[in-house]
């Protein structure tokens, strides 16, 4: 069997979703527009984007909570509407709200039953996952008494109780304190170590940098960047940041250099240019009577990547889902 015939854990092809809003359903929000994603087995895949970018909608379509208006989504080659597809998946929604009248143990047990576990196997798995998420001591308290962090951990426990091959997490660390975020990150990394494919969406960039193998940046329901974290960071790493004085931006441009990023700092000028362009530009600046105060190689971060993608999307159209 060739690698191409093995179904991917997650694949979307030209996936679109338009929500109809208002009493007469006459307002439309294009939450997703022709999204193509391919998530390979064993990866931690992050979907990054501002509010309204279509991140949660993508995950909800994958979990059969929302029906797409165009294109298709597949889980292990099967449409999410089939229960066989969802049997292999664990899902943690944003701000999970488990039944408050149940104890943590009862809720995880219910999740296990819905996956098909029973008897001794169910009891063993429930005990295991409660231990994994460090909720053994509070497992027999009603969920209404839990803190936000405890609810998130119970939510994670119910997602992994069936030993899923794919874990889908919607904003898993939002609203958590630093300790809670760290714990949840550790749980995600532990799942990856077990070979579970993880796809999660967030707008918390450090989480993506810390966890992801690959990243997709969504803006306005469209995929604007996609690649491995390493590739995306390397692509922007050949930039240098110069602080100049004795020369204006206009003068710099007359020297025949395009300056994609500039900022005036009182009597100085901060610019970012590619490393290749930096040497000829430096020569011309000095010849034109300017001075070079500093020169630093820019450490390109996902945050820079995210904001540059956002900037690009803003200049070409909508950012938070197109409304008509």
């Amino acid at each position: 069997m060739t690698s191409t015939s093995v179904p991917l854990p997650v694949e979307t092809r030209a996936l679109s979703k338009t929500y109809r809003l208002g009493f007469w359903m006459n307002r439309q929000v294009r939450a997703l527009q022709g999204l193509d994603l391919r998530v390979e087995a064993g990866q931690v895949y992050g979907i990054l984007g501002p509010n309204g970018a279509g991140k949660s909608t993508t995950l909800k379509i994958l979990m059969n909570l929302v029906r797409p208006t165009g294109g298709e989504a597949l889980l292990f080659g099967l449409p999410p509407s089939l229960r066989e597809a969802r049997r292999l998946v664990g899902f943690l929604p944003e701000n999970p709200a488990p039944y408050e009248y149940l104890t943590g143990r009862e809720f995880v047990s219910l999740a296990g039953r819905l996956i098909g576990l029973a008897g001794h196997e169910l009891d063993t798995r429930v005990t295991e996952v409660l231990r994994d998420v460090e909720m053994e001591r509070s497992a027999d308290l009603q969920i209404r008494r839990y803190s936000k962090g405890m609810i998130q951990r119970i939510g994670f426990a119910q997602a992994i109780v069936g030993r899923p091959r794919l874990l889908i997490l919607d904003e898993p660390t939002s609203g958590l304190d630093p300790v809670g975020r760290r714990q949840l990150r550790d749980h995600i990394l532990a799942e990856r170590a077990r070979g579970t494919t993880v796809i999660f969406c967030t707008h918390i960039i450090p989480d993506v940098e810390a966890l992801c193998d690959r990243v997709a940046v969504l803006v306005g329901g469209k995929l604007v960047r996609e690649g491995s974290v390493q590739d995306l960071l390397t692509a922007g790493a050949s930039l240098v940041e110069l602080v100049l004085s004795g020369i204006t931006l206009e003068r710099l441009r007359t020297l025949g250099h395009d300056v994609p990023y500039s900022q005036s700092l009182q009597d100085r000028l901060l610019i970012r240019i590619t490393e290749v362009d930096s040497q000829p530009l430096l020569k011309k600046v000095i010849e034109a009577g300017g001075r070079v105060n500093s020169l630093n190689s820019v450490k390109y971060s996902l945050e820079d990547l995210f904001f540059s993608a956002l900037q690009g999307a803003k200049s070409s159209g909508s950012v938070g889902g197109e409304i008509t």
Binding site: K60, N64, R86, A97, Y99, Y101, L110, R113, L114
Partner: protein, 256 residues
């Protein structure tokens, strides 16, 4: 498949038991049933009839209120709080989930009717009466009436909020007991459109009087098996239709 169905159904039962309002309603109706003794004390004649009227009436009112609350709140609240994300993302179909919820609700109501019936029977016996067949039929048919009300609650809450569901279901309960009157009034009107409206309402609304055997229990009037069976079949068919519509709507719904 059956395992997940039973898990959801049992959870509905557990939810109702742990809900404070259920406990309050049950306690209230049990207290009301015992209060029959007080009414009996001030009754000069037809003691049996007063005990039956008061007991069955108390059970009916409190259980109808509880049914409206449970059927309209469970699904709506689950959708509003987004708890449903955690359940329908599991390998269970939406239809299966909704029917299991409904089954769990009906099981809860069956248990409550059994408990209250025990109190009612004790009350009848304590007042020197004996339990009649008509009373037992009325108790059984009360469950079918609750099933119809519950199915309407589930249908409305599958696409609307808790408050709207409760208002509509209460309206259907009241008009369902008046559907014969709606029909006879509409036949007397000379305005064709009103007549058509009355007839449409009559055929759309459940005929809850057909499931109300409490007056017969009061007058100790027996019913034939075919009549009772026909009424039970009518209630079951109406509830099945409502649940089918609910499943169709629920399956197409987006959970944003």
């Amino acid at each position: 498949m059956i395992r997940s169905f039973l898990a959801v159904a049992f959870n509905s039962f557990r939810e109702a038991l742990r809900h404070r309002i259920s406990v309050v309603v049950v306690a209230f109706s049990v207290a009301l049933l015992f209060a029959t003794s007080l009414v009996a004390d001030v009754t000069v004649i037809t003691l049996d009839r007063v005990v039956t009227d008061f007991g069955l009436g108390a059970m009916s009112i409190s259980l109808v209120m509880l049914t409206i609350f449970l059927s309209c709140s469970q699904l709506s609240r689950e959708i509003e709080r987004k708890t449903i994300f955690l359940i329908v993302s599991k390998p269970i179909s939406r239809g299966e989930f909704l029917v299991a919820r409904f089954a769990g609700n009906m099981f809860t109501l069956a248990v409550l009717i059994l408990l209250m019936s025990a109190v009612f029977v004790a009350e009848v016996v304590l007042n020197g009466g004996s339990v009649t067949e008509a009373q037992l039929v009325a108790l059984v048919m009360l469950w079918f009436e609750l099933m119809v009300i519950s199915s309407v609650g589930f249908l409305v809450s599958s696409f609307s909020s808790q408050l709207v569901s409760a208002v509509v279901t209460t309206g259907v309960y009241i008009s369902g007991h008046l559907s014969d009157d709606i029909y006879s009034l509409s036949t007397r009107t000379k305005v064709p459109s009103l007549r058509a409206l009355g007839h449409t309402l009559y055929y759309m609304l459940p005929n809850l009087e057909r499931l109300n055997y409490r007056p017969k229990a009061s007058y100790v009037l027996s019913s034939t098996f075919s009549e009772v069976f026909g009424s039970a079949a009518y209630g079951t068919a109406y509830a099945a239709l409502m649940v089918t519509f609910a499943v169709l709507l629920f399956a197409r719904r987006d959970f944003k």
